[in-house]
Each structure stands twice: as C-alpha cells, then as structure tokens.
Amino acid sequence: MSAEYDIHVQEVLKQVPDADPDKIVDAFIRYEKDFLIPPADAIRAVLRRFQGESAPSSTSSTGQSSSSSQRQSLPVKKVERFSELAADDKNVEIEVEIITHNARTTMVRGEEKTVPYGLLEDMPWEEGGESTRWQFKDWGNSPNLHPGAIVRLEGVSVNEYQGQMSLNINQSSGVIILREGTRTVSKPGEPVDIGTIKNEGTITIVGRLLASRQDKIHRKDGTGSIDVVRGRLADDTGAIGFLSWEPFEHEIGSLLKIENSQVRCFRDTPELNFGSGTKIEIFHDSNFASTDDLAATSICKIEDLRDGASDIDIIIEFQKMVKRSFTGKDGEEKSVWSGDVADPTGRCRSSIWSEPPFDINALPITVRVRGARVRAWQGVPDITIDDASQIEVMAATPWGDDIDLANNLVEVDLSDLVSGPSRVGIKTIGTVVSVREDSGIIKRCPECRRVLRDGSCFNHGEQDGNPDVRIRFVLDDGRSTLSLFVNKESTVQLLSMTEQQIVTAIEKDGQVEFVQMIRENFLGRNISASGRSIVDDNGAMLLADDVSIIESDSALAATELRAKWGVV
C-alpha cells in the first residue's frame, strides 16, 4: 500500500469496510495520474465507486445485519413520510410508490447517461390516506423502478433546490420491489381545464384531439433526429398544443384523457409534453363539446397571438404582400412571401414559405389558415405558414365589408395594453405624466438605429450618428403606465414645428427650455396615441406614428359627471 494514500484509504475503509484496500489505492493512483485529481479531491468519487460495488449485496439481503448496516457509517434514517426528512438527510430508508417514471438521457461529464426522473408518493400502503409527492432522480437507473410499483428505497439522499425538496436515488442506493408495478396509479391528478393551463408542471386533462401530425426534432449536434408527434387538444375552455415523444396514433376528433403530462413553456406559450410516464386513454363523455364546435371556438384572433404558439387556426385578411427570394444554406434558391395581415382585433405580419394560392397583386383577400405557427419579431407576431395547403381562400369576410381593416385601429384600454401581448395597429388614451429630458433631437447609430449616448452606440462604439426627432412621454391611466415614443412625423405635427424649427429652438433656448416648452403644452393633458406596442419584462412601450391631444369641453364633462353620479 502506498503510504501517501494511506490516510485516504483508511477513510474509504471506514465507510466501506469490505472493500479491497489494494483496489482503493489503484483507484486513487488512477485519479491522480489519469485525471490529475489529488486524493483529497478524489475521495468522494472513490467512495461512491466502492459503495456502489457493495450495493447489490445489500439489496438482496436487507433484513440481515451484514452489509447495509456496515456499509455506511452514517446512521440509517428510516422514515415513513417525506415530511420527516430534512434537506441534508442522507442514507434515508423509505417505502414509496412510483407515480411517474421518465427515462431521460443526459450528458454527465461528457458521458451519455440515463437518469430517469419522476414522482414518488409516500405512505404507499394507505388507501386514501394523506400522501405527499416528491420528485426523484435515479442516478443508478435502477431496473426496479416502474410506475405503479411500491418499493423500499435504501441509502437515498434528500436534495433541496430552490426550496423544492426531492430524492436522489444514488448508484449505491438499494431499490427493493415490494409490489410489482401492475396497478394503475390510484390517484391521478384531477383533470384541469385547458384554458387555465399557464405554469409548468405535471397535469391531467381531458380534451378532444383537433390536430395531429408527425414531426422530427433534429438534434443540435447533428447526431440524428427524434420522431415526435405535434398536435392540438381542446376543451370548451380553450385549446393547447402538444408534443409527444412517444408514438401517438389517435384519430382527429378522439376524446382523450391524458394523465401525467408535463407542461413546458415555449417562449410565451404553454405546451403539453407526453413522455413514457404519460398515460393516454380514450375517454367517454357524450356531453363533451364536438370537434366542430371546438374547432369553431378555437379559431384565434390576432389579439390572442403569442410568440411560440403552434397549430393555430385563424381567419385573416392579407393586405400587402411581397415576394422575397434568397439562396438558402444549401445553395438552393428559396422564396418567402410576407406581408401585412389584419382581422378586426388588430394587425400583424404573416410569412408563407410556398407559393400562395392567390394572386399577391390582387389584395386584400380573406383566407382561413390552418395549423400555422406564430413567431414574433420585436414583439410583433408573425403568422408563419409552411405550406400553401394550409390556406383556404374565402369568398367573403366573416366580419362583413363595413370594417375597413386597412385603416382599422383597435382601441385598447391602456391597462389592458400594458398587461397584454405586444400588438400592432392599436390606439390608446392616457394622461401625460412625464416629458423625458431627451425629447427633441437625438442621434441614431447609422448601423442599428439605436440612440447614441454621448456619441457612442451600445453595440457599434463611437459614431457620428444620424439626427432624428422624437418625443418621449410617459402615459398613465391611473392604474398603469407606458412609455410613449412619438416618431418624427408625428412630433413635427404635434408641435407644429418643422425639424429645422426644432433644431433652431434648441440652439437658441437650450434643451431644458425646449423640453419645458413641451411640458407646458402636454403635461397633464389627455392624449390619444396609435401605433404598435412592445411589452416585455421592462414594461410597455408604444411606438406611435399618430399622437394628438384630446380636446374636451370641461363644462360639459362636469355636467355629465353630475348627471352620472346624481350630484346636485
């Protein structure tokens, strides 16, 4: 035995008495030589390895004193309930039922490894008793873990991450089957309404299948692709997209009960994920809304579109369209038709990746689109249509001819605008509560149009900059606020000053005086602004191309208030 490892070998032997001391030394030497890890740092890894080697004997003979009691110097903490466990408990013994079990392959230190995860429930023998569920990760990929099985776990440890407790089943842990996993899970979660799904988690739903198609997900590292199924399910509260990692062959229109589906959020849109732990079965309910009804109610409106939504059905009017051609990565000539679209709730953009089934020079035209995706650029939704077969040209607009969508501005309450998604073609009203000091002439980066700060662009460094005109207001409705950016044309119109007059005024009186002049005209005034909104974590912005003061007759407004409230 090499002396320099002696102290560390003793340490390992203390924990794993029946390990071979020579093998322990070999392990330390290997770590130090091959991986350049000194024994003090390697001891955990070595310990784990020898504990793991001695584990099988313990799983087969737990009742006996031999290995499990000697294996670890840590006392065994035997509990019945998860609630008895603390965040730093190790060497825990508990009997649980496996609720879900999902095999997942991850890269661990450059090595592909299967680390299943899922849910466990304590008090497995109590029918209708109060059980608690915890997540687990099985680092040993034990063959004994199956959904529905009741097992005794030995030598597992508690993990706490962001306040969430879970169990780690280690490579050295014992998993003893107490009852085979044949029984279906007795207490699946109650089905939830599709319209209420917002947050990530595991849920059960009942929904009708509206759409389903085969798809492939290409691995980023180019090691091939995974076959998946994408589609859409609905109940009378809403519709949601899904992604199945397992074969999924139900017919459109089937009513399905789906247990233990994972909700994942892609961009701003929740989506159901079906994996090996998900149970899907045909559900019978003659009162459930029919496919036609659901298809009709699940037609989206532009105001509802969220970045990342998929398989949406929508009726839109194409107003303007251009064809762009470019050469793809593989040298192939490709075309995309993109343009402005509208419905009575707003406007946005749309791109079609194949020849549209209508004449792009004879717009506007109303179409019904099926199974489209939504991507957003600067907050503006883009309805992406991959194939012309998804488009059905409609003979008439469902909203009648009296709505002129070309100039249609949808009036949105300021608070709704601030709490909603980014939108185009909207108009809102609020009180000016601030005129920002940087209103007037600004310099923009010639590369990216970003406003220069002290002659320097955030991305492109020092620049000469192109002059531009704008006003920055804060609008307020008493409940919410938004930043209002007034563009050049609208500023010139609002101030009744030409760009040159603005430049001259600032040169003559100074920036401070110029901004104060704007305040004297606008502070506290109600204004109406239209344009497009961008809503993100930093709040709401309205990029306006038309802004005007709302002139009101105060005497009349006061009299109206009297009448409304009965003030005499």
Binding site: V433, G524, R525, D537, G539, S554, A557, A558
Partner: protein, 308 residues
C-alpha cells in the same frame, strides 16, 4: 418565467388636496427601493399624484446643512397641497422654482399642473405631515385646470362609490373582488378600513360640488384666494363679503337647478349653499326671509319650491 418584472413605474392619481391632506396612514416596504405609499381615507394607495392649482406661497429656506429647500403651497378648490423642492430635485425643477418664486413675489397669478411623489412624515410627538415632491411641473391656463378638475372629481366620485360599496362587504380581498371593487383599490380599502374605521364623506361631497361648479364656470374659481392663505377663511371671507341679496339669488338659483318637480329638500339646499361658501346658519336665515317674502313656498315640510 413568471418572475416579477423590474419595478414598474407607479401610476399617478388625480387627487384633490383635501383627500391627500386628510391621510394619516402610510406604507413602505423594507427594501431600499420599495416605494412609499400614502393611503387615503377612500382607499387610494398613492405613490404619485397629478395635482393642480394656484401657487400661494413659494419661499426658500436654508436647511441646517446649508442647502436650500423651497417650500410652497398649491391651492385647489378643496384645500392646500404642501410641496418642497430641494437639492435632490432635477435641475429643471430647481430652475423653475426660482423663476416662479420671483413671479409670486411680483404678485403674478401662477396656475400649475404638477406630477409629484407623495411624502409622509411623522414627528416624534405623533403629528403627521403629508407633502409632495414635484417631479415635473408646468404653468397652465384655466382650460387645462378645468380639465384637471373634472379628472380629479371623476376619480374622487369613483373612490367614494367604491368605498361605500365596500362598507357592506366582508373585509377580505376575495369578498371585495367579488363585490366588484377594482383590483387597484382592494388593498388600499382594506388598509384604510382598519386604520380609519368609519369615515365622514360629507367633506368630499362638498369638494365635488365646488369642483364641478368651477369646471362648469358657475362661480369664480379659486383664482382669487384669500390673503390669509387658509382654506377656512376663504369661506368666512366670502360669507362676510357676500351681501344677503346675493345669497338669496344663490338659493333661488339652486332651487331652479335642483327642483325635479317636488321641490328641493332643506338639507340639499343648505349643503349646496355651503359648497359655495355660505354658512348654513346664514343660509337658513336667508331662506326664511325668502319664504316670508313669498319668493319660495314649502309644498310639504322641509321641501322648497319657487313661487311661480
């Protein structure tokens, strides 16, 4: 993904001086940048206000550390807002205050609109002061002032309405929500209810009458404030300076306006006269005289009608 976004700008409340000045409750979180709120009797949780009125006083004061603190008063029909502008204020704000102080000294009438942060201060003896720290302000004319008056009255009427609705509801967020109280008032109403208990709405109702009258251009507005600079004295000044014939005219005018066919009840008549600055006792005497003269009659007890 559901993380609360960065601290958002607090919205501004259009608010009369009486509602803000009557507040004695504040709330501030423990964090360094947590906003301060003043909670009014009507449950408005105010961090920022839009106020307007006449500058009545604007004076510089040397503070103990040698800095200059400008203190001023802004009068609206309901009372006074106190504001201060110190070295912490923006350059623009400080320059404006100097300019305005000069104008005030020269006796010029200055009407302002102000967006300001609420301040709350309690002395060791327990006296409470609410005041404003202006962020941005501008000189305005009467038409913008009227617009502001209407907005302030609208806000006040809404809050009175919701405050009254809330009195019959259980004092829990859920009950208020179900009872139709808007989200932005729920917390404030609960806090106000605990702190203020039952409140007297009469003063706010009078304020509304005054404000709407001015917005409608019926009475001379607060443009001619009393020299003493105190709200109470405005009323008494007017009473003493108003000769009795005018008061009778006011009463007859009120009856014309308010009479829906059955006459006008005594209390409504005197309240409205009070809203115009006429003492109830004096009004009552004038009403008696009108009855004796035969200009009005009482078709039933306590209800007055114009004699045709």
């Amino acid at each position: 993904m559901n993380a609360e976004p960065r601290a958002r700008r607090q919205p501004a409340w259009h608010m009369l001086a009486s509602e803000f000045g009557d507040s004695s409750l504040s709330e501030q979180g423990s964090g360094e940048f947590d906003p301060l709120f003043v909670i009014t009797k009507l449950g408005a949780k105010v961090n920022r206000l839009v106020v307007s009125g006449l500058i009545e006083r604007l004076e510089a004061r040397e503070t103990t550390n040698g800095a200059t603190l400008w203190q001023g008063q802004l009068r609206d029909p309901s009372g006074l807002h106190y504001f201060s502008v110190g070295d912490y204020a923006s350059e623009t704000m400080r320059e404006l205050v100097v300019k305005w102080a000069r104008k005030v000294e020269e006796g010029e009438t200055l009407m302002l609109i102000m967006v300001a942060k609420a301040r709350f201060f309690q002395t060791e003896e327990g006296a409470i002061y609410t005041s404003l720290r202006p962020e941005e302000a501008a000189e305005i004319g009467p038409s913008v002032y009227r617009e502001w008056l209407v907005a302030a009255a609208d806000g006040l009427l809404n809050r009175i309405d919701f405050q009254q609705k809330s009195t019959s509801l259980d004092k829990t967020p859920e009950a208020l929500r179900e009872g139709g109280i808007p989200e932005h008032l729920i917390q404030g109403l609960l806090l106000a209810n605990t702190h203020y208990g039952e409140i007297d709405l009469e003063i706010f109702r009078l304020n509304i009458m005054q404000v709407l009258d001015i917005a409608e251009g019926r009475t001379p507005s607060a443009k001619t404030p009393s020299k003493s600079g105190q709200q109470v004295s405005i009323i008494s000044d007017e009473v003493s300076s108003t000769d009795e014939v005018d008061l009778k005219e006011v009463l007859l005018g009120l009856i014309d306006r308010l009479d829906q066919g059955e006459g006008v009840d005594f209390d409504a008549l005197l309240s409205n006269a009070a809203a115009r600055g006429h003492d109830r006792g004096v009004s009552e005497a004038a009403l008696d005289e009108l009855s004796e003269q035969g200009a009005v009659h009482e078709p039933r007890f306590g209800w007055f009608k114009r004699t045709t």
